[in-house]
């Protein structure tokens, strides 16, 4: 089971684990911390959308509701971060299951539009309920997660690594195969005795839960719950990172997220054009590397290597 984990992923995490010894500016650590969260979100997006083929276009719904639930409970009841993160994640999961009653029946563009609609609806709702959520401003004064950028960095890196390992193993297990079977031909899967509904529900819930933990971590690291955590832009960015990296691979979205996050920082000066560049990348990816850059790079490297041995 453990040999299923792509070695390149392990190497990658190993490198990043050592990073703070070479570059310990809070700025760099902050960038990678955020990138780790994006990676978590991209991977947990992928375990559902990549493997069932249903594009969830409102992922920020899970992240934002977990973030705000955690923030509201945490600040009003004075809970520790770990407790409020857990409450947040459970709230997101609960909402996922409730909305899933409707959304999981739908396929294709219907699923896409309804997940998008629910995302928008809750984003607006949070503004309407500004007394609780702080409206556009969000909620401030949230307890910090740990006592410094370095420990925040390691918490998120380790979390990202754990999510990576768990989801890779899950995706390459029998359960992953079943999801792929459902994606490729649901009727055949049903006929084979697979309970497709349970699988969809469980994966959707898992996807929400992990996203929720990510959301909780985010607000405690930033010490602020931003309304952007419910935004369609966030949903879009995560989707782009996952598709760019390669849907349905787990490792693809992981690399996609780290890659695009770092790229985004490098292009910091072009901040207004950021979404434009991201969307452009999405379009290019769809046309020139529809299975994502990770697999593209892999095929390129194997082609080069086999020519050498040749």
């Amino acid at each position: 089971m453990l040999r299923n984990i792509p070695k390149i992923g392990l190497v990658f995490f190993g490198v990043f684990a050592l990073l703070p010894f070479f570059a310990d500016s809070p700025y760099i650590l902050g960038v990678i911390t955020m990138a780790s969260l994006y990676a978590v979100w991209a991977m947990s997006w992928d375990i559902f959308s990549g493997y069932t083929g249903e594009i969830n276009f409102g992922y920020a719904f899970f992240i934002g509701t977990a973030a705000f639930a955690g923030a509201i409970f945490g600040t009003r009841l004075g809970l520790t971060p770990w407790l409020s993160i857990t409450i947040g994640a459970l709230t997101a999961t609960f909402l996922a299951l409730i909305t899933g009653i409707l959304t999981l029946r739908l396929r294709g563009p219907y699923f896409t539009i309804i997940t998008m609609s629910i995302n928008i609806a809750f984003s607006e709702l949070a503004l309407v309920l500004w007394k609780w959520t702080g409206g556009e401003e969000g909620i401030s004064g949230i307890e910090p997660l740990t006592d410094g950028p370095a420990s925040d960095y390691y918490v998120t890196l380790i979390f990202s690594f754990v999510v990576f390992v768990v989801l890779v193993i899950l995706s390459r297990s029998k359960h992953g195969q079943i999801l792929i079977a459902i994606r490729e031909n649901e009727d055949a899967a049903e006929a084979s005795g697979i309970n497709t509904i349970i699988y969809r529900v469980l994966m959707f819930g898992l996807s929400a839960f992990i996203a929720g933990i990510g959301g909780g971590l985010h607000i405690h690291i930033q010490m602020h719950a931003s309304h952007d955590l419910l935004s369609l832009s966030l949903s879009t960015m995560i989707l782009i990172m996952a598709i760019f990296g390669g849907m349905g691979t787990i490792i693809g979205p992981m690399f996609g997220a780290y890659g695009l996050s770092i790229l985004s920082e490098l292009l910091r000066n072009l901040a207004e054009y950021r979404m434009l560049i991201y969307t452009g990348i999405l379009v290019l990816t769809i046309f020139y590397a529809p299975n994502g850059i990770f697999l593209r790079m892999k095929t390129l490297f194997s082609a080069i290597l086999s020519k050498r041995k040749g």
Binding site: Y110, T112, L282, I286, F287, P290
Partner: protein, 286 residues
């Protein structure tokens, strides 16, 4: 009195929505694509009209006409460049149309910024209809939308190409055997649908907000209308459009202005839960 206002304003809203929804249904019925970029055609119609009026100093009606035609060509190009290559790959068609929509939003934002643009009324003045004070611009929009939809209906029924469209919608393979090129029909259909949406966008631009995110809600509403009316049904889309128009207007007057946009979302949820094929639709095989 309020009732009359809801009736009159609801009618105008319904007409604009019908113009957008008919195109959306058309693309689905014929090209079998749920084009998430449809709202973008509406947006481009508005911005192009603005550009022609504000920068080229053209007469508003001329600007509107030219914009609609240009948007039509954008639609055709979009079909050739983005949709056609993706037709094989199911989920990607949706993503690519959405990517088109997002890309357009960010390009428009980069060019024009987020500030809403102001377009002067094409026809000034007001008139009193059934005791309600109505801007002439709205009347213009109503007549334009009605005329366009009727003209299009006649085109579909009687014109040679209209019949070709209907044939491809019924059975692309059989149409091909009859000498019709489905690919060409798809592209032109998207073009016509885009034109109608662009026309709607341009015509209503003096009244509604013109800013880079203006494509999103019309798209969701078009989707809601199509779900309500029954996907693939043109009459259903028209009926659904007016139902939504009245429902939103009633909500705005009776409950709250802010909740208007929620109506379409609620409709999507209710219809999909109760009767997914909508009022008049054929069932969708997935």
């Amino acid at each position: 009195m309020i009732f009359m206002e809801i009736l009159v304003f609801g009618l105008f809203k319904g007409a604009i929505y019908a113009l957008i929804a008919v195109g959306f249904t058309l693309i689905f019925g014929v090209a079998r694509v749920i084009n998430l970029g449809h709202g973008t055609f509406y947006m481009l119609g508005a911005y192009l009209t603005y550009v022609f009026i504000a920068y080229a100093g053209l007469n508003p009606f001329l600007s509107l006409a030219i914009s609609a035609i240009v948007v039509g060509f954008v639609g055709v190009s979009m079909d050739y460049i983005l949709i056609r290559p993706m037709r094989e790959m199911g989920a990607y068609v949706t993503v690519v149309t959405l990517a088109f929509a997002l890309l357009s939003q960010y390009i428009i934002f980069a060019i024009f910024g987020s500030r809403a643009r102001n377009i002067p009324d094409f026809v000034t003045g007001n008139v009193v209809v059934f005791g309600v004070n109505v801007a002439n611009q709205r009347l213009f929009v109503l007549f334009l939308a009605t005329a366009t939809i009727i003209a299009f209906g006649l085109f579909l029924k009687n014109a040679r190409f209209g019949k070709a469209i209907r044939a491809v919608a019924q059975n692309p393979d059989a149409s091909q055997l009859m000498g019709v090129e489905p690919g060409k029909v798809f592209a032109i259909t998207v073009g016509i649908a885009a034109s109608m949406a662009g026309l709607a966008g341009g015509a209503i631009s003096p009244i509604w907000n013109v800013e880079p995110t203006m494509w999103l809600f019309p798209l969701i509403k078009a989707f809601s209308i199509v779900v309500l009316g029954g996907i693939g049904s043109l009459p259903g889309s028209i009926i659904g459009a007016f139902i939504l128009g009245f429902a939103e207007t009633a909500t705005a007057f009776l409950i709250s202005n802010y909740l208007q946009n929620m109506v379409s979302l609620i409709i999507i949820v209710l219809v999909l839960l109760i009767k997914p094929s909508g009022l008049m639709g054929r069932t969708l095989r997935h």
